[in-house]
Amino acid sequence: MISWTARAGLVGLSIVVIVTAAAHFIAPHDPARQFPDLAFAPPMLPRVLDNAGHLHRPFIYPIRLVDRLEHRFVEDRSARVTLEWLTSGRLVTTPEGSSPWLLLGADALGRDVFARMLRGAQMSLGVSVVAAALALTLGALLGALAGFVGGKWDAALMRLADFVVVLPIIYVVIVLRATMPLVLSSSQVFWTMTVVLGVAGWPFPARGVRAVIALERKKEYAEAAQAMGAGWLRILLRHLLPAAQGFLAVQATLLLPMFILAEATLSYVGFGFAEPTPSWGVMLHEAAEAGVLSEAPWLLAPAAGIVMSVLCLQLVSEGSTQVSEREGVTH
């Protein structure tokens, strides 16, 4: 029934969602914490085998600074730091005072890239999900209205949709942001971005919903309901909108990647979240700006986060498109 790709996508998505939601628990360190001696430290792999080939509980070899300026580090093979599980409210961490565990290395300020990436996921994905929900709701309502009422309203709404679709979103947000106060808290940034993206995204679902509704309205059951004297709102909500459900689900998988990218781009160009709140765009910006991309490729980890989330969404949407094609559903 569900294709293999869609299933893989769904599994991937679930993992992303769970990890993001539990970021505080999963991250081994505080994302804001700076380890002054570990700027640009390379990723540290967890191990179970030591030098001599003996098996241990998962541990890491701490790294030691050799040359700060050339950011060279050596692994200290003489001491093992055993990972501690489920202590101090974290899934896994290292004891305070010993070497931190930097799964994806450290950034220019010696902060844990992995922890920041998880925290960034909350920001980036959070904005995208809420904005998508907003866009879908707005789109479904306006689209249904247009399709149901028809006539002048329909024409006006669809012209407006045409117009909003071609507005360069990124650009609108940038100009909007520029008109706002300089110091915005993270939550203010979050909601501003969400609302703007949501408002910019409604025409995509609206167009399709309108088409579906316009089609369904002419079908027998709708006409029958109308003949039986059901109110128009009732017909719309109870009979017609459910027909657009499948379409809306597919739209969600299309809008989300768009918004993830929009957030990343906005933050990248400096109109999104600000220090110390990491978002994927902010982190990518720091990576590109550091000028050490070739020295510290692990700073691009958020790019992998973006690709993975979008990929999972692609797989789901691709899979569901194939299924609906096979089942002969049109949208």
Partner: protein, 319 residues
Amino acid sequence: MRSGFRRYLFRRVGFALLLIFAVSSASLLLARLAPSDDVFAVDRVILAAERHRLGLDKPLLEQYLDWLGRTLRFDFGESLRFRRPVAELIRERAGRTALLGFSALALATLVGIPLGVFTGSRPSGLLTSTVRLTSIVVLSMPSLVTSLVLLLLAARTGWFPAGGLPTISDGTGTLQSIFIVGRYLFLPALALALPMAAALERLQSRAIRDSLTEPCIVAALARGVPRQRVIWRHAFRLGLKTVLAIYGIMIGTALGGSFVVEIVMAWRGLGDLMYQALQSRDLYLVAGCAAAGSCGLAFGILLSDVALAAIDPRVEDVV
């Protein structure tokens, strides 16, 4: 039918013009609302003089009407930051963006279409799966990611210049100049082209697969016409329509994508100019860039509408 098409065309052109107008005036007004206007001088007296010279001290409505009147004559005012006419700056930069965009489009076509025909005509096999998986992965990489990754590769390998514009000295021959420009252009164009190529591959592949089930193709195959010929002669043509229709949208994508690629790769085009203009609150430059950008977008939309209408006469009735 022909007159219907012409009427449709008129309507779309009208819409495109309206779009350009609305976007650029909206951005002028919005940028004007921004709390600080910034002139590159610390001295207050100079600041006031500059503002007066550029008409920034007039009331908003008057400023807007001024700007509108001049815009109709293709005069976008003067940039505060560069102290040069906006139209001139945009002309310079638009050329580079167009070069980047069209190279990317060409690159995407050259890679995406043949691959799509290949995967579409051969639904299984290791190679097809590889292409398909690659394309889905690449499709998940926005140009922001591709340009950063390519930048990383360039910095590590040194095969290509890591961003920036080529400098061509006077004595260089034409052929060599093209080679130099090509070297600098390649990475940004590739970063922009990769997602587009993947999209084209997917689309073309689907189109070929669909057309292979069309009666005429099945009949041709049954008559014993060689499969390769059927695919390239007939199925390809059948599928071309849907793919052609997407090009207009691609122009829009290319414009949006080039905004990011230009910033990351320091390709000094329109996107980069707009970024600088926004950063320094260069009012007229912002509006000018917006107008230029929406021109490109409107052109793309117009193209795709017309292509669609030309291919499928039903479109007129629906819209």
